[in-house]
Amino acid sequence: MADFLQFLFSGITVGATYALVGLGFAIIYNASHVINFAQGEFVMLGGMSAVFLMHLGLPLPAVIPLAVVATMAVGVALEKLAIEPARNASVVTLIIITIGASIFLRGSAEVIWGRSFHSMAPFTGSEPIDIGGAALLPQSLWVLGGTIVAVVALKWFFGRTRTGKAMQASAFNPYAARLVGIDQRFILMLSFALSGLFGAVAGILIAPISLTYSGVGVMLGLKGFCAAILGGMGNPFGAIMGGLLLGISEAMTAGYISSAYKDAVAFLIILLVLFFLPSGLFGKRRTERV
C-alpha cells in the first residue's frame, strides 16, 4: 500500500506537469489549429530563466512572475514573428515552422545558459511528509496546488470574462466570431501568451524536483502532446485528465513493471486509444461534412 501511494504521488506530480503542457497545446490548437511543437521549450524557458534569476539573487516571489512574463513574451514573439506571417500556410508547413522555432529556442538556450544540468531549491523545505508510509515532497504539493489554481483560473477566464468567451467563440467557429467583431489576431496572440504562461508555470514548479537543462522540453513537450490528444485535441479540460492519466500510468509502470520502458507507456497508451477511439477519450465524435 505504501508503495502504491508512493507511485501515485509521483505519478500525480509528473502528470500535473504533462497536464499543464497539454493545456498549452489545446489552447493554441483552439485558436489557430496549429500544433505548437515549441510548447516543450516554454517549459524549458520557464525553468531555466527561473534558475538563472535565482542565481542573480532575486527572491522567489520575484523570480516566478519574471520568469513567467519572460516566457509569455517569447510566446508572443513566436506568434508575431513566425506564425502570423505564415497564417494561411498548410498545416504541415506550420508544423515545420514550430519545429524550427523549437530548435531555435533550444539552441539559444544552449548559447545563453550552456548545456549543463541545473538544480533549483524547493520552494518550501525538502523535508518529506509521511502519508501512509509514503513520502510526499512539499514541492509535489506546490506542483499540484499550482496546477489546480491554473485550471480554476482558466475555467473562470473562459466562463466569466469577455475575452475568455471571445476565445471560446473563436475556437467554436472562427468565421462567426469574426462576424460579431472578435479580433482574431488578438485571440491568436493571446493563445500563445497563455500557453507560454502554462508552460512556464509547469517548468518552474517541476524544476526543484527534476533537474532542468536545455533539452528538458523535448520529452515533456511530446508527453504534453500525448496528454492533449488523449483528452481529445482542443478540449482543455480533457488535456488535464489526459495528463494526470499518463503521469499515473507511467509511475505505476515504472514501479511495478519496468522502469526501462517508462517513457514508452505514454505512447503505447496513446496508440491503443487512437486505434479504438480515433478522436481521443473526451473528443467530439465528428461526422464529416462534404
Binding site: 490548437y29 500544433i35 513566425a82 506571417p85 505564415a86 500556410a89 498548410s90 498545416v91 504541415v92 508547413t93 508544423i95 515545420i96 515552422i97 519545429i99 524550427g100 522555432a101 523549437s102 530548435i103 531555435f104 529556442l105 533550444r106 539552441g107 539559444s108 544552449e110 548559447v111 523535448v218 511530446l222 502532446f225 500525448c226 490528444i229 485535441m233 526501462a260 520502458y261 517513457d263 514508452a264 505512447f267 503505447l268 496513446i270 496508440l271 487512437l274 486505434f275 480515433p278 478522436s279 481521443g280 464529416e288 462534404v290
Partner: protein
C-alpha cells in the same frame, strides 16, 4: 509518347548525368561521404513525399522504420550469419509487414491524431532499440560487419557512392512511374477529398495503406544500406529528431515534388556540415533557417522556384 520526349525521362537522364559527373568535382572522400548520406536521405524522403505530398498523410515516425531497417539487417548479418543481401531484404520484409499491420488503424486517423499516432510508433521503436541492450547494444550502438555479396565486398566511399547513386535513380524512377499511374491519380484524388475519391470508386483505405507500406520499406532499405556503409549504428538513427528532420527535408524541398524531396534532403544534409563553423550557434542557425524558408517559401523550394521561373518565361 517515346522515351526521350517525356519530361519524366528527361528529368531521369539529367539526374543520372548529375550523379555520374558529380564525383569529378569532389576534392576528397569527405565529399563522397556527404553525397552518400544525401542519397540515402533522399531515398527515404522520396517515399515519405509520396505519403505526405501526394496522399496528404503526415508521418512523424519514419525514422523508426529507418532505424529498424538498420538494426534488423545488422543483427541478422552480424550476429546470426545471414548473408547481408538476404538480411537487407528480410529487414525490408519485416518492416513492410509491421507497417502493414499498423497501417489500417493508423491510416484511419486524421490530421493531428495521425501525427500523434505515427510519432508514437516511431518513439516506441526508438525506445525498444535503446532498451534491448542484449540485442542492439543499447544507447552505445553496435558495430556492423561489412557488406558482401558472393565474395565481393564494396569497400570505400567511392563504391558505395555508385551503389547509392543507382538505388536513388531506381527510387526516383519508381516514384515517377507510380505517380503517373492510376495509383498516383488515386492518391491525388484522395488528397483532394477522401469522400469524393471514395464516391468515385477509389478504395481509399487500400491506397493509403499501400503508400504507407511503400514509404516504410524505402526507409528500411535506406536504413539497412546506411548500416552496412557506416559499419556502426546507434538508436539515434530512429529517434524523434531524425523523423522531424526527414519531414523537414520533404517540406523544405517541396510537397508533391519528387525532385523537391531530393533537393530538400541535399540541403538539410549539407547545412549542418556548413553550420559547424558557427560552433555553439549551429543549432540556433538551423532552427532560424528552417523557420525563414518555411515562412517565405511556403510551398517549399522547388515548387516556389519553378513557379518563379515559369512566370518569368511566359
Amino acid at each position: 509518347m517515346s522515351f526521350w520526349n517525356s519530361s519524366r525521362s528527361g528529368g531521369l537522364v539529367a539526374l543520372a548525368l548529375v550523379i555520374a559527373l558529380l564525383p569529378l568535382t569532389f576534392p576528397n572522400t569527405y565529399f563522397f561521404n556527404v553525397a552518400i548520406l544525401i542519397g540515402l536521405n533522399a531515398i527515404v524522403c522520396i517515399g515519405l513525399n509520396l505519403l505526405i505530398g501526394y496522399a496528404g498523410q503526415i508521418s512523424l515516425g519514419h525514422a523508426g522504420f529507418f532505424g529498424l531497417g538498420a538494426y534488423v539487417a545488422a543483427i541478422l548479418s552480424s550476429n546470426h550469419g545471414v548473408p547481408p543481401l538476404a538480411a537487407l531484404l528480410l529487414a525490408a520484409l519485416l518492416v513492410g509487414v509491421l507497417a502493414f499491420a499498423v497501417a489500417r488503424p493508423i491510416m484511419r486517423l486524421k490530421g493531428h491524431y495521425l501525427a500523434m499516432g505515427t510519432l508514437g510508433l516511431g518513439i516506441i521503436i526508438a525506445i525498444v532499440l535503446n532498451q534491448e541492450v542484449g540485442l542492439t547494444g543499447g544507447p552505445d550502438g553496435m558495430p556492423v560487419d561489412s557488406f558482401s555479396l558472393l565474395g565481393w565486398q564494396p569497400y570505400g566511399d567511392r563504391i558505395w557512392y555508385w551503389i547509392v547513386g543507382v538505388l536513388l535513380l531506381a527510387t526516383v524512377w519508381l516514384a515517377l512511374n507510380l505517380i503517373d499511374s492510376p495509383v498516383g491519380r488515386a492518391l491525388r484524388a484522395l488528397h483532394g477529398s477522401e469522400v469524393a475519391a471514395a464516391a468515385a470508386g477509389i478504395n481509399v483505405v487500400r491506397f493509403k495503406v499501400l503508400v504507407f507500406v511503400t514509404s516504410a520499406i524505402l526507409a528500411s532499405l535506406a536504413g539497412s544500406i546506411f548500416a552496412f556503409y557506416t559499419g556502426f549504428i546507434t538508436p539515434g538513427e530512429a529517434n524523434f529528431f531524425h523523423s522531424l528532420e526527414l519531414v523537414a527535408m520533404v517540406v523544405l524541398g517541396g510537397l508533391a515534388s519528387i525532385y523537391g524531396a531530393l533537393i530538400g534532403a541535399a540541403i538539410l544534409t549539407i547545412l549542418p556540415q556548413l553550420l559547424t563553423v558557427f560552433h555553439d550557434y549551429e543549432m540556433m542557425m538551423l532552427g532560424l533557417i528552417m523557420m525563414l524558408v518555411m515562412i517565405f517559401m511556403r510551398k517549399g523550394l522547388v515548387p516556389t522556384l519553378a513557379n518563379l521561373l515559369w512566370r518569368r518565361g511566359s
